[in-house]
Amino acid sequence: MVEPAPNTSKLDDYLKDMIQAAYAASNVGVAHLKDDPEAVDQAVTDLEEILGTIMEGNVDEWVSS
């Protein structure tokens, strides 16, 4: 079996958690589009933060925690 690249599983786990958090925020936002603008605002804010964190790509920090 070939040796996996270092931190393959840790990176995968971290991204999985972040993506699930993004999906959850997205679902809350969509569910409240017509009845709760504050919940939608919060969902968009959360999504901006989650996506921003992922795209900064501080992988060393993620896999060391």
Partner: protein
């Protein structure tokens, strides 16, 4: 033609050329998956027309990041670390189409219409291919990619049908992205493309996939009422 079905535990037994090509293709595919969000999240997410559309942009980006994750997992399992592409500046991307930014709504819509559609063609190449983990991963990615394409196609079409300034803006976006989309298929005479096919890592030649793509998008552009750009103009690879 190679007809084996290769699982992860058999990767190491494969020909060195097979290993190199597989590592190369999953690295580039990873880069393309994360390259999209890097184009539009910064400017289009805050400026999308309304909260509903902001959620669409964010969901699209999250799904593309999940596609990156799946590709990065496969790359990692065959010993290739692709995590560095997460933070690469756009100008370093492997594929030229991703070395730019999208700053407006029609750009996001046309990107979904044209470039995500190329993404679907790229994923289609791996279906029923020789490397089974890749075949399984793309089957979970394709429905999401189709959702991005449908959204982009419908939104670009609706904007174009407004006529006037909006139609001109969509036309400009199509004029910009169409040549880049065609270039994404690579050189028509690429020797590497033949080796990918030999090893069962891709199904079609670059030119065949490009021709099928053109046959698919041309009637869609006609229906939008926009001019179809010259397929040779502004091209880098023919």
């Amino acid at each position: 033609m190679y007809t084996e079905k290769v699982e992860l535990q058999d990767f190491e037994k494969q020909d060195p050329e097979y290993q190199d090509l597989l590592r190369r293709v999953v690295t580039i595919q990873s880069d393309c998956e994360i390259g999209g969000p890097h184009l539009y999240v910064k400017d289009v997410l805050p400026s999308a027309p309304g909260r509903g559309m902001q959620l669409v942009v964010a969901r699209t980006a999250a799904e593309e990041i999940d596609h990156f994750r799946k590709m990065a997992r496969i790359a990692g399992e065959i010993g290739t670390d692709v995590s560095h592409v997460l933070r690469w500046p756009n100008q370093k991307r492997y594929v030229e189409a991703f070395r730019t930014t999208i700053t407006n709504w029609e750009g996001f819509a046309v990107f979904g219409f044209l470039v995500d559609r190329v993404g679907k063609y790229q994923l289609d190449e791996f279906l029923d291919g020789s490397f089974q983990p890749l075949d399984r991963a793309v089957r979970t990615m394709l429905p999401e990619e189709e959702g991005h394409i449908d959204f982009g196609t419908n939104e670009a079409g609706e904007l174009a049908l407004r006529g006037g300034e909006w139609k001109e803006r969509v036309q400009r976006a199509i004029d910009y992205w169409y040549p880049k989309s065609l270039d994404m298929f690579g050189h028509s005479e690429s020797p590497r493309s033949e080796r990918f096919r030999y090893w069962g890592l891709k199904r079609r030649s670059n030119s065949q996939a490009r021709e099928e793509y053109m046959a698919e998008v041309t009637p869609l552009m006609e229906r939008m009422g926009v001019s179809i750009p010259d397929p040779v103009k502004d091209r880098l690879y023919l």
